[in-house]
Amino acid sequence: MDVQNKVTPFKEAEALKLIRDGRAEGWEMLHQQYYHGLWSAVHQVVRDDALAEDVVQEAFLKAYKKFKRFKGKSKFSTWMYRIAMNQAYDTIRKIQRRQKRLGLFPLQQNEEDTPIEGVDERTGADAAHHGDLRDALNTALKSLNPEQRAVVELRLIQGFSTEETARILRCKKGTVLSRLYYSCQKLKQLLGDRYAEL
């Protein structure tokens, strides 16, 4: 599991101890460790580089302010990711509400069945065929909805277990598996032969 392997339990414990002693170095260690992963996970939901940075920043500030509430019952990574993902969903909800008030199109539509503008299924398959894997995968990921992208990121890319993913996203394990299953099917459909056996 990638996330857990990056920080040994000893180092994480050390960082948490430093924080409990009121030393900022602890936060620096945790920030160094989790920033990239958090950014990627949040980016799957908000789909905007700068906004993802702001969301992660806010999430760290929240964690800093609420640290006394962290009792160590779950892993710090699970707690931190949960804060960041909540912050990400809150952010897109706020943006959607504002856009609705202003009569604009929503930022995140339900893209499960309707490919986003300018992207069709053939584009993804063709790109994969021509070896442009990055474009093909990015295109295919865009066709998933934010919830599906979040489980793909946490479970498949970052290597959280299904239970941990469920805890982070505050949903049932079955929901995670179902979202992931249909995401894989969708990716298979979009990316053609490469993942035919999925």
């Binding site: 920043q57 500030l61 894997l133 894989c184 298979k188 993942y195 999925l198």
Partner: protein, 141 residues
């Protein structure tokens, strides 16, 4: 209905293989995970700088008092000042409206005193002074 138990089993199997070097693998799920990770790594490398983000965060958490704290403190101070002014105002007007005590009467002779009371008949506050010498009606200065 998909068999999620089977799917979870496949997922766990691909968890156990940390980072296979071989690009070709028989498991499509593992292949997908590898490809997604590769894309994710490329995105991270091309995009951002954790150090800058940390500096930004550090400036916020190391401040002795954040902007919001100062704002909260200023609201509190304003509220306290408003209460003090209001209380002071009530005290000052209250002391003016309160019933006066015995008026000071100075006389050449001791034993002069006054009793204030409210006259329902006259609808007025009356100060009844006693102790003065009787002055006849025909007295002239």
């Amino acid at each position: 209905m998909p068999n999620y138990n089977e799917f979870e089993k496949k997922l766990v199997e691909t968890d156990r293989i940390p980072r296979p070097d071989a690009a070709q693998t028989e498991s499509a799920l593992l292949q997908l995970r590898m490809d997604l990770k590769q894309v994710s790594e490329m995105k991270k490398r091309s995009r951002f700088d954790q150090t800058t983000a940390w500096t930004r965060l550090q400036s916020e958490i190391s401040e002795p008092m954040s902007v919001s704290s100062w704002r909260a403190l200023s609201y509190f101070a304003t509220a306290v000042a408003a209460i003090v002014v209001t209380v002071a105002f009530f005290f000052s007007t209250g002391s003016q409206n309160s019933q006066p005590g015995l008026p000071t009467i100075s006389g050449a002779e001791p034993g002069i005193y006054a009793t204030p009371f409210y006259s329902e008949e006259a609808k007025a506050e009356v100060i009844w002074a006693e102790g003065y010498r009787y002055i006849p009606a025909n007295y002239t200065y």
